[in-house]
């Protein structure tokens, strides 16, 4: 997994590329927590290049969401493939996360 972080209209977009698993999720967690510790108001995660996610990756996002909610921040997930969406649905997390089809939808929400 590689992680790219860009600024888009003043908010960070995190773009992980590759597989998010027990090996790579600690690195993703570190990046998320670094941004969250700065009380980032809105954080976008672009799933467009994520080919796979396991429960350690999901746990990372659940933890990030909980932390952001504590100060009123918003974590937005963008462009989940059908296979990944299916895991969120199965885990009943599709109702818990803000999930958008593309970046503009996420920004305008």
């Amino acid at each position: 997994m590689k992680i790219d972080i860009k600024d888009y209209k003043g908010s960070p977009i995190i773009t992980p590329t590759g597989d998010i698993d027990l090996y790579s999720s600690p690195e993703l967690r570190a990046e998320l927590m670094r941004l969250i510790s700065k009380k980032t108001r809105a954080l976008h995660v672009d799933f467009g290049n994520v080919s796979y996610i396991d429960s350690s990756g999901i746990a990372t996002f659940v933890e990030g969401l909980k932390n952001m909610k504590s100060y009123g921040g918003r974590l937005k997930l963008i462009g989940l493939s059908e296979a990944i969406m299916e895991i969120f649905r199965f885990s009943k997390l599709d109702k818990v996360f803000e999930i958008y089809g593309n970046i503009d939808e996420a920004f305008n929400s």
Partner: protein, 141 residues
């Protein structure tokens, strides 16, 4: 050994991708439907991740043996370790309505496999047996 393959990896998360690749290869060889392969891949990854986390507790000098086979019973994956013995009665996923990090792996394993059982007769370490029943369409042509 007929129609079965075995792989041994260090108990290190770095090698989980190899296990996933082998799982997918085996699923394709046996003509499983694509969504079944995806679910099984995730489940085997989750089971091996748990071995790394709970049985081997981060001791990456330990190893994990994974055996894949196709029998009349179905697509079977047997995962062996020499780590700390699990207490199967304590292994439980969280309630899916209780939103918190963790506790999803067990659910994902049970979604993919019809049989999920620890071999209680194994003396040292753990042997987890996972079986997915196959319908007639699957199998080597």
């Amino acid at each position: 050994m007929k129609d079965s393959i075995a792989i041994t990896i260090p108990a290190h998360p770095r090698y989980l991708c190899v296990v996933r690749d082998v799982t997918v290869s085996m699923g394709k060889i046996y003509n499983l439907p694509e969504t079944d392969i995806e679910n099984i891949k995730l489940a085997v990854d989750e089971a091996c991740s748990n071995v790394i986390k709970y049985a081997c507790r981060g001791d990456t000098t330990q190893k994990i043996d994974i055996k894949f086979s196709v029998t009349k019973k179905g697509f079977e994956v047997v995962i062996d370790d020499n780590g700390i013995k699990a207490k199967p009665e304590l292994i439980e996923g969280r309630s899916l309505t209780d939103i918190r990090p963790g506790g999803l792996g067990v659910h994902l394993i049970k979604r993919a496999f019809d049989v999920v059982s620890f071999d209680e007769t194994k003396k040292k370490g753990n042997r987890l047996r996972l079986i997915r029943r196959l319908d007639k369409k699957a199998g080597v042509q």
